[in-house]
Subunit: 238 residues, 4 copies
């Protein structure tokens, strides 16, 4: 499986705290544990030409991970559109944390994707509400993160196809924090945790969920729909 | 309730057959039976300034019906975007037949909304698959249309929130032909029948379903979500 | 609309604290505010003959509310079965709090309906996650209850048709606490709050949600499915 | 993976036509192609002691397939209950054709599972409506069966978690004919085709779908929910 990890990669350059937590960039950390799981992993970042997402890269990518935050506005519209089209054709997409506000995710959802938030070194518990789902394999009934940014409801997304995690936050909020969406022939997994100032992507359970998510969204040889003008089963004029 | 019926209103001008079936335009026929049901109904068409959808019209519209076909490309992007935003804020939307390809519907769905089609004077049966749903009130277990255009799967829409009708076509296809979607605070009902050359919108059962649909998508005084930066329940630093 | 409020009515007799909070029984409190809303409301309790649910009572009931806790085992199986069948035929059902473990709800769900719980005078916040839903009309973006029993995930129910509320509890848990289910021609609303030692059913917002729920589950003149051996549209042997 | 194929195995004994199509029994045919796919497959039939489903057999079964028709009433209630419990604990279940009326499926669904039917050597087309789903891998956009029994809507099942196939029948009906359900930690796949007098289970595409279904429902090491009385995150009395 060919994975591309896309990262905005700006906080890492401008904020020493973030650089301290993710010295190789958030994309570097994600790529590393995915490579260790045996995948063929490339990375792409905002400031590369075409954001690192050339037609060739997109064409050969089976699963794309997306992390962005402060520079969603700098994403080129035409590239966001291309990524969306590849998802509809079957490329898997894992949308992480603040990428809820990325152009790609908003285009695919059709909603504002807005939510509540707070930075307060707050405890988060991600409760599994779908214990049949392969994305939950290998973790316990909840994952606890000592400190994270809070994201709270109402999260303006379409009804998920599957709701897998609900987060509890110490300050009084909840969030549908792990959810899947089917669009076209593509599968999407949104997974909330991962604020840039916390070591969330070094957490074993979080890595496990992302590895499971990548497997789950990966494209398979499902039927390619035929569209447009179509002949009937037999002559209807009889 | 304030309803606005939007119609492209081009076939009616260029095609005598269509003008014969809908002498007052498709919008005129829809508006008439909705008025008879006691609603306050306005109409708007593509060739009016701002497609008849000024900010004032949109602001006071509780439910918008949309019929379009050959001129989706002529819809102004900024107006489609405004309509989408009003839906997310709570305006109900009923999307009819070939409006599956309207800019508004595609923006809200995030998919291509493509499907199979055939014009062959074909029999259609719309089977009720959700007999709990208020949209099905007052009709039998299926509605039969002697002649309609065929629309067939795969219909490239997100998984509907509710699947209400499945159509059978004589030539061998099926379609998820009545479906609801929730987006933001707004509710959407897609209803398939209504090719311009057939008297479908004069059919009593079809009118009943559209009247039910209008009631179902109508906005109500549901909670207005609060978003953005938020205080915790109590001081978390304690 | 004819409503029947069913209550186990045992805590009220054996526990002075409960009797103090609900001097007319939980059923009495529920019936009172539903009558004030203009409904025709009867009550039925476990210790009446046939638990107060004779064939006549069931036949004329449009919406049944159910509260039970310590004596689910004493519910007669045949009566639970009859109630289930009436729901499948179209009677609305509102299942309250510990009635998650009632025979009727378990039969309709097909699962254990088990969950976590704790009695610790704990704060609960019910967050609205579906602001399109008529059941949420007239309340804010969340309802806060100062003290309630905790119910936590994993709640062993089928995927709800609609998830309306998610509860946050001070002690670290979440619950899908307002959810709808369609079964046969009947609609079901499960609503979590209402432990017998707290004045939850005197809370204006809780009463509002229950009133909304009753309206939402109420049966309507939707199509009655025809089943069994069926003739084809036309002779297939041609 | 350990698979058990359960079959009523009565038609095969009493009806020469069925015996001609399935000389080794329907279970024999199913077991054969599943073995060829590399699985460890056992069979069990109604007339064996405990219907062949002893506690040991159930305990070691990862996926159970179920075919039954004329003798659902002879299934022992206690065994149906045990099978249901194993599904809730995580055993996968594939329910075939007339097993929609089996005790096990009805208990898990909570509905009548009734539908329309007709035996008329009728053409069936199973259209893929979820081209993201692994159950559809390796087949085209539809599967056509020259002759099958018709099953028609309204099919009295809860809203499926996923709707994968919709069947078209020549005589004018449709059916949600491939659908998944999550119950407890278990996954269920209902797949319609397979009337005993037709060679449906010899059809390569039908075999492919059943093989895919078996893989999809197979249990995985997902979290085992903890239930009952629970301690809070920290002392709430502070």
């Amino acid at each position: 499986m060919k994975i591309t990890v896309w990262n905005e990669n700006r906080h890492e350059k401008s904020n020493q705290k973030v650089a301290g937590v993710y010295p190789e960039g958030i994309h570097g950390t994600l790529a590393k544990f995915l490579r260790e799981a045996g995948h063929d992993v490339g990375t792409a970042t905002l400031d590369e030409p075409e954001h690192g997402l050339t037609d060739d890269v997109l064409a050969e990518t089976d699963v794309l991970l997306w992390w962005g935050h402060q520079a969603h506005d700098e994403e080129r519209d035409d590239i966001a559109e291309k990524v969306k089209e590849r998802v509809l054709e079957g490329m898997g997409l894992v949308v992480l944390h603040s990428a809820h506000f990325s152009k790609v995710f908003k285009k695919l959802m059709g909603t504002t994707c807005d939510l509540k938030w707070r930075e307060a070194d707050e405890k988060e518990r991600l409760w599994v509400v779908d214990p049949t789902h392969p994305i939950t394999e290998g973790v316990g009934e909840y994952i606890e993160l000592e400190k994270e940014e809070m994201y709270g409801e109402h999260f303006d997304i379409p009804t998920p196809d599957e709701l897998i995690f609900i987060s509890w936050f110490a300050g009084g909020e909840v969030l549908r924090s792990g959810a899947t969406f089917k669009r076209g022939r593509g599968k999407i997994f949104y997974f909330r945790p991962g604020h840039e100032t916390y070591p969330t992507y070094h957490h074993k359970d979080i890595q496990q969920i992302i590895k499971n998510g990548v497997k789950w969204v990966a494209n398979t040889s499902t039927p390619k729909p035929v569209r447009g003008n179509t002949k009937p089963l037999e002559d209807l004029s009889k």
